[in-house]
């Protein structure tokens, strides 16, 4: 019987003229999203490679590694082009020195505000706005609509348990709305291949997880719609109620939760930190100067080398103190930020839209941790770079002036920029991604079950006449 009910629901949805239209729109949008994501990724890759080449070119003709201050970049990723997350909001470049504070800068939206005004087309947007709305549109009258058209009594003239009926409605709608979408999604993957974008096995798996999260999210709206449809008598009322819920769930709760609760936690503004760091740096610069003034050579032998070494030590000492001071302040701010994001995202997770958005961005590697991870890896690279500089020329760049003595006719050869250690951004491994997104997947499943249970309970009391 359940099979029959599912079949009936499936036929009803697929046979409706609405379906053709909605399926066509969704398919076009899905293909467009993959195409836009693909070409954006290719453009970003081209820009990234060009910037890296320019970076190496800028080192040509330099004779001492201590003079090298270069740039490292957060590499583009195809999944970030399909699920933007915060990847366009955070700084993607770091000016790299052997010592001193580093900070990412140059976000996509800051560089091109025109993109910030309207944003990009991505899978999160597609599921959150378009497909959730379509889910409502097909199921808002699942139960009360049948009553209005008189088919409900007809159906229950057979011996069907009410639970089975609701289950049939939900499974039928779910199948009718999600299975056909597999075709455009597969075509979308084909678009990526046609564009010459090769995804690794783990990336295909993550993309499949994102699509699964999206379909699970649609499921929440399908069960919610069936629930509301069994609570309200008239389909017009259930549609209105669902539309209001949709507005709140998609557009209001996530934003308001973060904006309101986020401000409950006091995070010191970055300018305040800079003020403190600046004052301390000034103090240290004075100490460095006084120390340099007291320099006493040990005999006249290799005077310059002695001073150079002394200056390096003094600068290292300053750098260490500055780093420890700065790290403490940064750590405090980071901890406050973590508390802030924990609170605001926990509250935002009341909305299934936030759950889906967070899950998909975690899987795509564009969640909130991206900025912290990039900075942390850039700092690790700074140590590698500093060690490399010291090995090559006994000192490092940044954090003070350099004195390099070159005797006439004894000029050192140009450095070989290709020897520079490469910065490779390592994405989180698959296991940790899955673990991090499990909570949101779990919440989406819980919501689906709650709404299913709600629909079942409501329908038990539903007046079939």
């Amino acid at each position: 019987m359940l099979k029959l009910l599912i079949e009936k629901e499936l036929k009803e949805i697929i046979g409706s003229p609405k379906f053709i239209m909605m399926f066509a729109i969704s398919s076009i949008l899905i293909l467009l999203t993959f195409y836009v994501g693909g070409i954006n990724y290719k453009k970003n890759i081209a820009q990234h490679e060009a910037a890296k080449l320019e970076n190496l070119r800028s080192m040509e003709g330099i004779k001492d590694w201590r003079l090298i201050e270069h740039n490292i970049y957060l590499p583009p990723s195809i999944l970030a082009s399909l699920v933007n997350g915060i990847s366009n909001d955070i700084g993607r470049n770091v000016d790299m020195y052997g010592r001193g504070e580093i900070r990412p800068h140059g976000s996509v939206y800051n560089e091109n505000p025109v993109y910030a005004a309207f944003r990009f087309l991505d899978l999160t947007f597609l599921f959150q706005i378009v497909l959730s709305l379509f889910s409502i549109l097909f199921t808002y009258n699942a139960v009360n609509g049948e009553k209005e058209s008189g088919t409900l009594r007809l159906v229950f003239s057979n011996s069907i348990p009410r639970g089975k009926y609701i289950l049939g409605k939900i499974l039928g709608s779910y199948a009718a709305l999600s299975i056909p979408l597999i075709i455009p999604f597969l075509l979308g993957c084909l678009v990526l291949s046609v564009l010459g974008i090769q995804l690794k096995g783990s990336e295909w798996f993550r993309l499949a997880l994102i699509i699964n999260a999206g379909i699970l999210f649609m499921g929440v709206f399908i069960t919610l719609s069936v629930f509301i449809s069994s609570v309200s008598r008239r389909s017009a009322n259930s549609f209105l109620l669902l539309l209001v819920i949709w507005i709140f769930v998609i557009l209001v709760i996530p934003r308001a939760a973060v904006l309101i609760s986020g401000r409950f936690i006091d995070v010191p503004p970055i300018d305040e930190l800079n003020n403190k760091k600046n004052a301390y740096n000034r103090e240290l610069a004075e100490t460095v100067l006084n120390k340099l003034k007291t320099f006493k050579a040990d005999g006249n032998e290799d005077l310059f080398a002695q001073f150079e070494k002394y200056m390096e030590e003094v600068n290292d000492d300053k750098d260490e103190k500055m780093n420890s001071f700065g790290s403490k302040l940064d750590e405090e701010r980071k901890n406050r930020q973590n508390v802030q994001s924990d609170l605001s995202l926990t509250l935002a997770r009341i909305s299934p839209a936030a759950q889906f958005s967070l899950a998909s961005s975690i899987i795509a590697g564009t969640s909130l941790t991206l900025s912290q991870e990039f900075l942390s890896q850039a700092k690790n690279y700074q140590n590698v770079f500093k060690t490399f500089q010291q090995e090559k020329s006994g000192g490092s760049s940044g954090g003070g002036m350099k004195m390099i003595m070159v005797n006439e006719g004894d000029e050192p050869p140009d450095i070989d920029p290709t020897e520079l250690p490469e910065f490779v951004y390592k994405e989180a491994n698959l296991d940790s991604i899955i673990v991090a997104s499990l909570g949101d997947f779990g919440l989406l499943i819980i919501y689906t079950f709650i709404f299913f249970a709600g629909a079942y309970m409501a329908f038990r009391r539903f007046d079939l006449r």
Partner: protein
């Protein structure tokens, strides 16, 4: 008869249970967004004040007119309460120094990415998405719904012209939906006053114009709903069509327009431009160092064979001239780099302007984009905000550097750190002038870009016109279509 029709429409809307729900939701959202906006604005102001004190201390710590460092901050605009636009996406300040180029950096979202995840909720956002949807919900069955209910034939048993009927539908829906909206809008204005937000007459003019543009946008959706309802036979078809149109105009066209423009006009990334400048700068400094070392060698050769006292005397006689020569060489080099940088970034800026123009032209096919652009313009949180600020900061940079150069000439400049090496005395280090010795009180202050109401309104005319023309066209088309509508 016309007034009766309007009254009928008005009563139908006001008595509709949908009305209470949508009115409550939109009022709640508008007031909530303004409260959030006020809170954000106050936070931004506090951050701005901290920044200003940082900029002040940065100036005070300068030891030499040559190496003066300033920071110019972008001042929060109270209109961001209603339309945040790109306010949180673009940098909040730019460093101003002889060496670095002007560039707004550290956007609010890059500093605190948690707020970037779901972005902002503001009045313009609610108008663009929520209220346009509500307008459709009230009008999708304005004409065909009456036919389905059988009231259309009843109505036309009286002597009513078809144009009169459509006009009454539009006016009735407008009065029923727009007038109640004025309540939460007025409450928002009261909130601005009660939270003591510094709103000048200029800001009130802008906010009232914004309200006017918002109502125009809302009116377009009301009329468009009536048009589709008079074209289609069944209300469910018209709703489906309207919903599709709404998704396409509100969400798809603006995005696709911008993305298409990005594909048509390819511009290098900022990182690429910076690396190009870096390469040029390093080459220039390398040439400068080679030339300097050649000059010093020549000077050393000139002193060869002199006794120590002769050398000292010769150095005393020539040191000022040498310093001037070296300084001139350095200045020439700096000017070359500045010149190259200016040309490079000018080209980059022009490319971005081209991209912006094309993106806006393409996205303006959507009334939602036209509204968003008009709203951002009125709030001065538009896409060109970054360019305006960077231009103003560039001007400030020129002023401050010219002032610093004048001061260096009149008061004499000092060095930051001087390291001398002498075969007799060894190495000696001097720290230049003591801290706080520069009188920076007369340094020019950064003046934020200022505009008159006319300057702000001018670029908005095109968007307001688009909304007006579309509304009138839809109304005309509705009248025309309804003249052929089968009343049976």
């Amino acid at each position: 008869m016309f007034s009766i029709l309007i009254k009928k429409e008005l009563i139908a809307i006001l008595q509709n249970p949908k009305f209470i729900t949508t009115f409550a939701v939109s009022s709640f959202l508008i007031i909530l967004s303004v409260l959030i906006g006020i809170n954000e604005y106050k936070n931004n102001l506090a951050q701005y004040d901290t920044g200003i004190s940082l900029a002040k201390s940065k100036i005070e710590e300068s030891r030499s007119w040559h190496s003066i460092n300033a920071i110019a901050y972008r001042k929060p605009d109270p209109m961001q309460i209603f339309v945040s636009g790109v306010n949180n996406d673009i940098g909040r300040f730019s460093n101003v120094s002889r060496q670095g180029e002007v560039k707004l950096q550290n956007s609010s979202y890059s500093d605190d990415p948690v707020f970037a995840i779901f972005r902002n909720i503001d009045f313009a956002f609610i108008m663009t998405i929520v209220l346009s949807l509500f307008a459709i919900m009230f009008t999708y069955n304005a004409v065909n719904g009456e036919k389905e209910d059988g009231t259309l034939r009843l109505l036309f048993s009286n002597s009513i012209s078809r144009a009169e009927f459509i006009a009454s539908k539009v006016v009735g829906a407008w009065l029923g939906l727009v007038v109640p909206l004025l309540i939460p809008i007025s409450i928002s204005f009261l909130l601005i006053i009660s939270f003591d937000i510094n709103f000048r007459f200029f800001d009130w003019s802008r906010v009232l114009t914004l309200a006017f543009v918002s109502i125009t946008y809302f009116t377009f959706f009301i009329i468009f709903g009536i048009l589709v309802s008079s074209i289609t036979k069944s209300s469910s078809t018209s709703f489906l069509l309207l919903l599709t149109f709404w998704i396409i105009t509100v969400f798809i066209i603006p995005r696709v327009g911008v993305i298409a423009a990005g594909q048509i006009i390819r511009i290098p990334s900022h990182a690429e431009i910076e690396s190009q400048l870096d390469a040029f700068s390093k080459d220039s400094w390398k040439n400068y160092t080679t030339q300097l070392s050649k000059t010093w060698n020549e000077r050393r050769l000139q002193m060869e064979g002199m006794s120590e006292s002769e050398k000292a005397m010769y150095e005393d006689d020539n040191s000022w001239g040498w310093m001037q020569t070296d300084d001139k060489l350095r200045k020439i080099n700096e000017e070359n780099i500045t010149d190259y940088s200016r040309k490079l970034f000018e080209g980059y800026k022009n490319n971005r302007i081209e991209l912006r123009k094309l993106a806006l032209t393409l996205s303006r096919f959507s009334p939602a984009s036209a509204y968003q652009l008009a709203a951002m313009n009125m709030a001065s949180t538009d896409i060109a905000l970054k360019v305006r600020y960077e231009d103003a900061i560039q001007l400030y940079k020129e002023k401050i550097l010219s002032h610093a150069s004048q001061k260096a000439e009149t008061d004499g400049d000092s060095f930051g750190l001087r390291i001398s090496m002498d075969s007799e005395k060894g190495i000696s280090v001097e720290g230049g002038r003591d801290q706080n010795m520069l009188d920076t009180s007369e340094l020019p202050q950064f003046a934020e870009p200022s505009y008159t109401f006319a300057q702000i309104f001018e670029p908005t005319i095109i968007d307001i016109s688009i909304l007006f023309i579309l509304s009138i066209a839809c109304f005309g088309l509705s009248v025309y279509r309804f003249s052929k509508f089968d009343l049976r």
